[in-house]
């Protein structure tokens, strides 16, 4: 089939961008969306034009590198599917496709479809971990974890950090990403000691990184390639309320000054 692509081109963060129209011919149904971009790029290079820049690595939906808004849907029209796993059998001949980058102040564009998702890393730095000095761990089976808790934690832990939730959110909020990590670690016995401090610090960093506020639209869940549920957002809120009522923030700021 033949497709018409309107791709967002932007030379760099400072430059202003715009859509450019391209035609791609002989697209096969078994090709992935990224392979279509490959073909487009081969053509562009042939004509001495700069290829479209886009992040990608594993191409099997697990590394979270790829990410672009395809016809208004982050990662495209298919549920639970990353752009790299989106296959062309879901498009039809002659279709016009608009491709644009994640749009959020916290995700500044680097070039074309490539954005800087460093904000996510900073949120993890703030508290998205369980402190274990290498070698200090107890015997693995010393602490049983109820299967149900482990399974639920795994549901949350599947997050690939792609940023589609932010891209889809009308408020450009990172709530689902943060909620997934807070829930994953908060559901496990190993995560309890830092549970209250973790949620407070991660939430603070989420604001500092410039993400918007969640007003419970649920778009993030619909866009999430790992179908992470907004129930985890409620879970984050509950943890946050508990933490605040138990006077966590002050403990946290003390902890930050290295006391306690």
């Amino acid at each position: 089939m033949n497709l018409v692509l309107h791709v967002w081109r932007q030379a760099n963060g400072a430059a202003s961008g715009g859509f450019t129209r391209y035609e791609v011919a002989e697209v096969g149904p078994d090709m992935s969306f990224l392979e279509v971009l490959d073909v487009l790029n081969e053509g562009l290079i042939g004509r001495g034009e700069e290829p479209v820049a886009f992040d990608h690595d594993c191409r099997e939906g697990i590394c979270g590198s790829c990410g672009m808004v395809i016809n208004g849907r982050p990662h495209g029209p298919n549920a639970a599917t990353t752009a790299c796993q989106l296959h062309m059998r879901h498009f039809h001949d002659g279709q016009e496709i608009w491709v644009e980058p994640w749009r959020a102040r916290a995700f500044p564009v680097i070039k074309d479809l490539v954005v800087d998702r460093g904000g996510f890393d900073r949120i993890i730095q703030a508290g998205g971990f369980i402190t274990v000095r290498t070698g200090s761990a107890p015997e693995a089976n010393a602490i049983p974890v109820p299967k149900a808790a482990a399974d639920l934690a795994m549901d949350a832990a599947q997050c690939i950090g792609c940023g589609a939730c932010v891209a889809a959110c009308p408020n450009a909020s990172a709530m689902l990403f943060v909620a997934a990590k807070v829930s994953h670690l908060g559901l496990l016995p190993q995560g309890q000691p830092e549970r209250a401090a973790r949620v407070v610090k991660m939430v603070e960093m989420m604001d500092a990184a410039g993400f918007g506020a969640c007003t419970n639209h649920g778009e993030c869940m619909a866009a999430c390639p790992k179908e992470i549920s907004i129930d985890f957002i409620a879970r984050l809120n509950r943890d946050f309320i508990k933490a605040v009522i138990s006077g966590q923030p002050s403990d946290v700021s003390r902890a930050e000054q290295g006391v306690g």
């Binding site: 939430v203 419970n216 409620a234």
Partner: protein
């Protein structure tokens, strides 16, 4: 007093909004129950309005308890609005460049119109106060005769129509508001998560219906 630490983060502000929202919601419910007495005729209705001012007697003076309620209400309204504005502002700043078109799939009309809803409600309440509490916009305001005042306003088609419109907005706001508050307050635990949408819808519907009934009844001559 955890309200202050809450006010620091957007998540915290959303929580304050939910709490104050629920307070406002309770007022709206109570206010409705009161207003429905209008169907029992002038005496009851005015008695109720009077009653509001004499709750707690003899321990409290006239209107004291009402004022306490009003203060709580005012604090809630301002907190709610303040949070709403700052949260909205943060979200607008969070996406400086918009999409060619973002295709929304999950969200509801109610959720998308919360902010407008809030704005309309604000305007509405101001008019409403001028109408019944201060009598400025009321065609024939008789202090103390609440029953008369309500009828006086609602006999005008345009006023009633305006009211009904605003009441629908309130209903919509409460619908998403309640559901959203479950989420914001972390009350999603099963089995709540299964029926919270329905519950919010039903409550919102009842409230709107109750309120709308009044202007309609007045115009329809049921209440005269």
């Amino acid at each position: 007093m955890p309200a202050l630490p809450l006010a620091r983060s957007l998540v915290g502000r959303k929580i304050l909004m939910a709490v104050t929202g629920v307070i406002l919601f309770l007022f709206v419910v109570g206010h409705l129950l009161g207003n429905l007495k209008i169907f029992q005729g002038p005496e009851h209705f005015n008695a109720y309005a009077e009653g509001l001012r004499t709750i707690g007697a003899p321990f409290f003076g006239r209107g004291q308890v009402l004022w306490v309620a009003r203060v709580i209400l005012l604090i809630s309204v301002f907190t709610h609005i303040w949070a709403a504005i700052t949260v909205t502002w943060a979200s607008w700043k969070a996406r400086p460049i918009g999409y060619h078109g973002l295709h929304l799939v999950e969200t509801t009309y109610a959720a998308r119109t919360m902010r407008w809803g809030g704005l309309i409600i604000t305007v509405y309440v101001i008019y409403h106060l001028l109408d019944f509490t201060f009598g400025r916009v009321n065609p024939s305001y008789v202090p103390g005769d609440v029953y008369h005042n309500v009828l006086a306003s609602f006999h005008s088609w345009s006023v009633s129509a305006g009211y009904v419109a605003c009441l629908l907005v309130v209903g919509l706001h409460i619908y998403h508001g309640l559901w959203s508050a479950f989420q914001t307050l972390g009350l999603h635990r099963p089995p709540v998560d299964r029926w919270r949408r329905g519950l919010a819808g039903a409550i919102a519907l009842l409230i709107t219906a109750g309120y709308v009934a009044i202007p309609v009844a007045v115009l329809g001559g049921l209440v005269r």
